[in-house]
Chain length 106, copies 2
Amino acid sequence: MRRDIFQAIADPTRRAIIALIALQAMTPNAIAENFNTTRQAISKHLRILTECELVKQEQEGREIYYSLELEKMKEIDKWLSQYRKIWETRFNQLDNVLATIKKQKK
Amino acid sequence: MRRDIFQAIADPTRRAIIALIALQAMTPNAIAENFNTTRQAISKHLRILTECELVKQEQEGREIYYSLELEKMKEIDKWLSQYRKIWETRFNQLDNVLATIKKQKK
DNA sequence: TATATGTGCAACCAATCAGTTTCACAAATT
DNA sequence: AATTTGTGAAACTGATTGGTTGCACATATA
């Protein structure tokens, strides 16, 4: 099933999961311990995150380790970059204005 | 009303609105012309975007101009930066590995 | 082999969401 | 003064969401 990354990161619990598994892979049970919900609710969140490939799984015996797929996070960065370009340009323009003012003062 | 930015950008129509008004302020009518929905639906999206301060309004007679609040977009960038840090570190680590391999070849 | 453990899936439910239609109202135009 | 134009708000609707409970099933452990 296709999934939208932006819709995936819209939920605060899912963002917290992402933060948790960013540095080390974790099992659903271990992840669920950090939240005030059932294991099944976390399992559903993990399914959504996996479906949009923000998270990958690795089976190890009966345990499944979930970890962050950083490559996919870059897609958000890519989307954001078009706006970053704008605010950097505006910042430079402001910089020029300030430089001009400074010059005129001299 | 408080609003979550991530929930606001989850909707594809709202992301399209953001893209539209990123470079120039626009009225709801002008924005709605670009979509296949009613003006009222766009009005609702604009309300949500305004509530989380991703978008600001400027009244001009009976017209209201909506434009992007770049400052707020930076909050997404800030959230993303913790993960950018990780992928940059990993990239450098990979870089070191490659450098070592290259050295050994010599 | 019997039991415990780790996990995903399906069915259900209340809440929220995105959209429509209808209305209200102020500012511009005739 | 009457009409048109630009807009937001309210009420309603079907779809989606996040959560729960109950179940199934494979892998460990006793």
